[in-house]
Structures are given as structure tokens and as C-alpha cells.
């Protein structure tokens, strides 16, 4: 490690500020470094925490590549979602742990954004149990989706697939990223401690592995309550 922390490392650390060099760095230096010290893709979704309040109102940013990104394919995807609105409401009601969910069509991707309480796997599994058919139909529009149909018979695989396509949630404090990067390669976090100067470099490399990320896990304007607590408080049943 010590050798690679030498002049080249220091040099890469200053890349972002060297405007005239951006071209060269983009095509030579960064690719070289990616080859030299690749970062594994960091897992999607919120991280498990011993703190109860961290385990409620969690964000899912599911980014699904469309099988057919042409206007026709995009329109089909939109209509599949539209045709299933009733089932989606029924699903939300029976799963009980979801605050909201919405779909976005962004270029060649269909995105499902939601806030849910508790464990991610339980959330997805319960959704399949209630409205598996909705996911089956959506998956017909998604690149790689056919392998997951019927979702009811591929529960584990589907949960993993969603997890992989859920955006990595970058920690609010950028230095916490070091620990996650260590963990991803099976090392003890922050041992030895990382040099703060290497953060920009590590971020560039990470953004290569995870091109799309969520900046933080979402911000709340009030302390975390579950969907059921809110419904209970307002007397709308849970």
C-alpha cells in the first residue's frame, strides 16, 4: 500500500482541481486507477442499524432498465403501471409498512421510489405475496426481468435483484464511505485509518462502480414514525 500512496496517489487527489487536465484524467488516469484499485459496487438501500429510528421511513430508489427504451417501449411500461393502480393500492394496504410509493420514467429507466418501515426483504416479500402479479407484469418490461417471473416462485432471487437495483445510499458524512468500502472487500473498517486526502479519489472510483447513487438516505423534517403510527394517530385505521 505504501508505494501506491506515493506521488501518484497525491497526484490523483488533486485531479478535481486541475481543469486543464480533466480530459487526460478522464481517459487515462482514472481508468488506470480503476484498474489498479477497483472498488466493488456498494450494496443498495438503507443499512441495518441497531437504532430503532433508523429502521423506519427508509428509502427505496429502485432503478430498473427498460427492455425496450424506444418511445413505444416506454409507453408500454407506463400503461402497465397505469393498469395496475388498484392492485398497487391494495398491496400498500396489506403490506402496511409503506408510506408512499411512486413511479418515474427517466430516459431508459423505470424507477420506483418509496418510503417504507422495517426490513427491506420483508417489505419486498410481503408485496410479492399480496400483489405478485403486478411485479410479474412490470418485469415483462424490464431488461433481465424475464428470469424473475413468476416472482412468487423466485422470491429470493427477486429480492436480491431489487436490492442490486436499489441505489447505494452514500453516507451523509463522506468519510463514512471509507468504512463501507472496507467492509465491501471484507476488511475491518478504518483499520488502518484512511487519509482524508484520498476521499475525492475514493469517491471518483466508487462512482465508477456505482454510477447512480442517492446522496444520503433522505432527510426528514420530523422524527421517524411508522406509517401505522401516523395512521393510528389520525384515526384512519392501520
Amino acid at each position: 500500500m505504501s508505494k501506491t500512496e506515493g506521488w501518484f496517489a497525491r497526484y490523483v487527489d488533486t485531479l478535481q482541481s486541475r481543469g486543464w487536465f480533466k480530459f487526460v484524467s478522464k481517459y487515462i488516469v482514472v481508468p488506470y486507477w480503476i484498474w489498479r484499485a477497483p472498488k466493488p459496487k456498494l450494496p443498495g438501500g438503507p443499512r441495518v442499524s441497531p437504532q430503532p429510528s433508523d429502521n423506519i421511513q427508509r428509502m427505496m430508489n429502485l432503478i430498473m432498465p427498460l427492455k425496450d427504451p424506444s418511445p413505444i417501449g416506454r409507453a408500454t411500461a407506463v400503461s402497465v403501471v397505469a393498469q395496475n393502480v388498484d392492485e398497487i393500492f391494495a398491496g400498500l394496504d396489506n403490506v402496511g409498512t409503506v408510506h408512499f410509493a411512486r413511479f418515474l420514467l427517466l430516459d431508459d429507466k423505470l424507477c420506483m421510489i418509496s418510503a417504507y418501515d422495517g426490513d427491506f426483504s420483508n417489505y419486498i416479500r410481503d408485496f410479492i405475496v399480496t400483489v405478485g402479479s403486478v411485479f410479474d407484469e412490470i418485469m415483462t418490461q424490464i431488461d433481465g426481468g424475464d428470469d424473475l417471473i413468476p416472482t412468487e416462485h423466485n422470491v429470493e432471487k427477486f429480492i436480491e435483484w431489487v436490492h442490486e437495483h436499489d441505489l447505494f445510499q452514500a453516507p451523509d458524512y463522506p468519510t463514512h464511505m471509507f468504512a463501507l468500502q472496507d467492509e465491501a472487500i471484507g476488511r475491518e473498517p478504518n483499520k488502518p485509518p484512511h487519509m482524508i486526502q484520498s476521499l475525492p479519489r475514493d469517491l471518483i472510483l466508487q462512482l465508477h462502480a456505482n454510477p447512480n447513487i442517492s446522496l444520503g438516505g433522505g432527510y426528514r423534517s420530523y422524527p421517524g414514525f411508522t406509517a401505522a403510527q401516523v395512521r393510528d394517530k389520525f384515526g384512519v385505521g392501520w
Partner: protein, 474 residues
């Protein structure tokens, strides 16, 4: 387009292909769990081959589910960790067909199942401090220790025994903390267990506990380790847990709570003075309140009587069923009680689809010396627990993460942990006692009573699968 390679279903229930102690319990006095490392893969395979052959020589035969005419002196069963299957030579592709929780192993799932702080795997004693070497948990149940020693000697010829954990059954099915355990188990289709005859909870499909059958989640089939017929069918998964129970702290807390409650303005709604006599001879109001706290925290009185159907006394007359009751909006059994958290039955829960779906089989024995409440000591003692189900994620972990800890299933308990088992701390813990008038009293300040001291996720293969493993080469 549809994925058809997987999920051929088992059509026939064949007890001779299933390991014992899964769908029905043994009820032996002693158990020893042998923690094994595969040090010589050929010797290990030879042992496994013998253990399922008709003529096993001196190698113990794996005990099957088949009913016995005469109870044997001992029973032998075996579970493999992911590392163990790897050591035995399963291919990378086959290993990848196992579910993620199992592949990662118990120590990597620590945060999810409450193993942090004093329970963190980094604090576990040997052999659990080296999870990579924990390959097999072989369990010997027996009438006496001597036959266990004999079997251990034979096992040690083929495996490296890196640790053992001894357990035993206490009188009347009691466990540390003094509760009767082993009452509620999921009833299963095709399985006749006379101890469950009077349990009127709905019958579960075999897929709750065995791989390859319909599950309790409508339409859902769990995926099977591949090749499914040879390896997956009739197997299941187990969370083996060494759970240390701090009996002295538990009893002390009951006393503290009772003393505080005696001064509480609503104490007459918890226990009117004139009802102390319902607790039987020798009870004071304080000692009776201690029992109420213990009963509400668990959901049963320590003698096993359900709190739901007998909220005023541990000695109902006429007697009440130990298994037949349900929870509702007006239940006296607190929503936060251990048993109600672990199985909310038909009671109201947030996850409407999840009622009765996260059932697990529990097979546990006590470890450590007896505890005498009049002479409290701090020796380590607790439960050697097996928490068995066809899908660790959908059953064991789902219960641990959302229900026992966090309390997601009911808005009244969200943010609190199981009072008995949860990852509590004195600063933040709380638990609501229910009162006769519908009110509540909130208890606070209890510590974590139960900590993890080891364990492993194991795969309990079918008999055919043990044969398959023994035939691996390379």
C-alpha cells in the same frame, strides 16, 4: 419465458427421508452439540456415507423422522454451515443456489438479528470466534451422558471437534428464568404429533418447515438448493443459537419493578389487594406482582398458563387450554409480550399479510448450572436453541428484526424491543403493562437479559442429501 427449472414440488411426504427432531421433538434428557471442522474431507465423506447406509458399522446412524417402536438410547443429527458445504466439495454453482442469509452466515447477519454490543460475534467465545471453521453442528440427544461420550469419540475419528455445548432438559419442561417452554409449535399437515392434538391453531403446509412443499405464503414457493431433488428436497434451515440468560438480573428486575409498582397510583388496577389469594399460598402482594410482570413480559405465567385467557391468576379454575387462544384489540396479553411478538396469531398487526406466516419450530435445551433465586450467582446459563424453518429470511430473521426488536407490527410498541429477549439497554427500554381497566403502566429501565454467545446458520439436509454430499468428489 417462465422459469421452470426450479420448483418441481415434492408430492409425497416421506418421513424416512427427513431428519428427526425437525417436525416432531425427541424429548430426551440430554443433548450435546458437537461443533465440527472438516479437516480430512475423505474421512468426512466416509462418515456421512456410513451414517445413512443400512450398515453403518460403529458410525452413528442419522436418526430419521420415522416413528420408533421403542425409544432408542440416543439420536444423532447433523447440520451443515455454508463453510461446511464448501469444505465437503459442493461446487461454486451449487453453493450459490443457497439463500443469501445462509451463504453469509449468522455472524454477517448480526445487526439484523440483534447481535451487537455484548452480543456481537466479535465477543463470542471459541469455537464461535472462528466462524470459518464451524462446518458442522452435529447433535446427539440421549438418555444419559455416557452414550453421548461414546458417540463423540467415534465422531472425533473423522472430524476435528472444535467445541461442544452440553444441554439438558429441566423438570416439567422449564427453562432458565423459570418458565415452561416448548408448548407452542406449528402444527403441520401430514404430521401427527399427539402433543398437538388439542391445539386448534390452523394447520400449516409442510413447506413452513421443509423445502419443496407449498408454503404458508399464498402462491409462494421458496427456492431450493440445487440439485433440488438430491440436495434441496426435505431439507430445512436452522438458526442454532447459544443464548445466555442473566437469571440474577432478571429476578432482581422483577423485584425492583414490583417495589415501584406497589407505590404506583394505579396499582389497584393491576392487582387489587384482595386478589393476592388467587396466587396461592405463600404469596405476598409484592411476590404476586413480580409474577404478573414476568407473565406479561412473556405472555404466559411461569407455569405455562396463557396470560390472554387467565389474566388474573396463574391457577385458573377451571383450567384453560395451553394452546387455544387468540389476541384481539382488547387483549389483556400485552402486544409487547415475547410470545405475542413472536407469533401474533390472528391478532391485529400492521403487516396484514403476515399473520400466521412467520412460524418457526423451536427445539431448545438448557445449558449451565441450576439457578437458585434465593442464592443468586452470575454463572453463565441459558438456552441452546434451534429455530427451524424453510426460509431463514422469511421466518427467523423476519421475526427477530421487525417483531422481537423494533416492534413494527403494532403502533403501540413500535420503537421498543422484546422485554425478555430484545437488544435492550436500561436507558431506553420500555414495556407497557396492561391493567384491568384498559389502562397501562409503562415499565422502564430494564437491561438486556439475554445475550448471544455463539451460533450458526445450518442446513439440515434430507437423508438423501447426506448421501449426495458423501458422494461428492474432488
Amino acid at each position: 419465458m417462465v422459469n421452470i427449472e426450479t420448483n418441481i414440488q415434492n408430492t409425497k411426504y416421506r418421513p424416512e427421508d427427513i431428519q428427526g427432531n425437525i417436525v416432531r421433538g425427541y424429548n430426551f434428557k440430554y443433548v450435546r452439540h458437537l461443533i465440527l471442522e472438516v479437516s480430512d474431507v475423505k474421512a468426512a465423506r466416509r462418515f456421512l456415507a456410513a451414517s445413512v447406509s443400512d450398515d453403518s458399522g460403529d458410525v452413528p446412524s442419522i436418526t430419521r423422522e420415522t416413528s420408533w417402536k421403542k425409544k432408542p438410547e440416543s439420536c444423532f443429527n447433523i447440520g451443515f454451515t455454508y463453510e461446511g458445504l464448501k469444505a465437503l466439495g459442493l461446487s461454486r454453482k451449487q453453493l450459490a443456489s443457497f439463500p443469501k442469509e445462509f451463504v453469509e452466515g449468522m455472524t454477517k447477519r448480526a445487526l439484523k438479528i440483534g447481535d451487537f454490543g455484548e452480543s456481537a460475534p466479535e465477543t463470542w467465545p471459541a469455537p464461535f470466534d472462528q466462524p470459518d471453521r464451524v462446518h458442522i453442528v452435529a447433535s446427539v440427544h440421549a438418555k444419559n451422558i455416557k452414550s453421548i461420550d461414546g458417540i463423540q469419540d467415534i465422531v472425533a475419528r473423522s472430524f476435528n471437534v472444535i467445541g461442544v455445548r452440553d444441554g439438558r432438559a429441566l423438570d416439567k419442561g422449564k427453562i432458565v428464568f423459570g418458565y415452561v417452554d416448548g408448548i407452542s409449535q406449528p402444527k403441520l399437515k401430514h404430521v401427527h404429533d399427539p402433543s398437538e392434538d388439542k391445539d386448534d391453531q390452523p394447520i400449516n403446509p409442510l413447506g413452513v418447515v421443509l423445502l419443496g412443499y407449498p408454503t404458508r405464503l399464498e402462491g409462494v414457493l421458496f427456492s431450493l438448493p440445487q440439485p433440488e431433488k438430491e440436495l434441496g428436497f426435505n431439507g430445512t434451515f436452522n438458526a442454532f443459537r447459544v443464548l445466555s440468560q442473566n437469571a440474577a438480573e432478571f429476578e432482581t428486575y422483577l423485584t425492583e419493578a414490583a417495589e415501584d409498582l406497589l407505590k404506583h397510583k394505579d396499582i389497584d388496577h393491576l392487582l387489587p389487594a384482595k386478589e393476592v389469594k388467587l396466587f396461592g399460598k405463600g404469596h405476598t402482594r409484592k411476590s404476586a406482582i413480580r409474577e404478573i410482570v414476568a407473565a406479561q413480559m412473556l405472555g404466559r405465567w411461569r407455569n405455562g398458563v396463557p396470560y390472554e385467557t387467565s389474566p388474573d391468576t396463574p391457577n385458573p379454575d377451571p383450567e384453560v387450554s395451553l394452546t387455544n387462544f387468540n389476541y384481539g384489540y382488547k387483549s389483556r396479553c400485552p402486544v409487547g409480550a415475547h410470545m405475542r411478538r413472536a407469533n401474533p396469531r390472528g391478532g391485529p398487526i400492521v403487516q396484514h399479510v403476515a399473520n400466521r406466516t412467520r412460524r418457526i419450530v423451536r427445539r431448545g435445551m438448557v445449558y449451565g448450572p441450576d439457578f437458585d433465586p434465593s442464592k443468586p450467582d452470575n454463572e453463565e446459563r441459558g438456552l441452546l436453541g434451534n429455530f427451524i424453518g424453510a426460509n431463514l429470511g422469511a421466518q427467523f430473521e423476519a421475526i427477530m428484526y421487525d417483531w422481537l426488536n423494533l416492534g413494527l407490527q403494532h403502533p403501540d410498541i413500535t420503537g421498543s424491543n422484546d422485554p425478555i429477549l430484545g437488544a435492550n439497554s436500561r436507558e431506553t427500554s420500555w414495556f407497557d403493562l396492561t391493567l384491568k381497566n384498559g389502562g397501562k403502566i409503562r415499565l422502564r429501565g430494564f437491561p438486556r437479559f439475554i445475550t448471544s454467545r455463539g451460533g450458526a446458520y445450518t442446513f439440515l439436509p434430507s437423508i438423501r442429501a447426506v448421501k449426495y454430499l458423501s458422494d461428492l468428489s474432488g
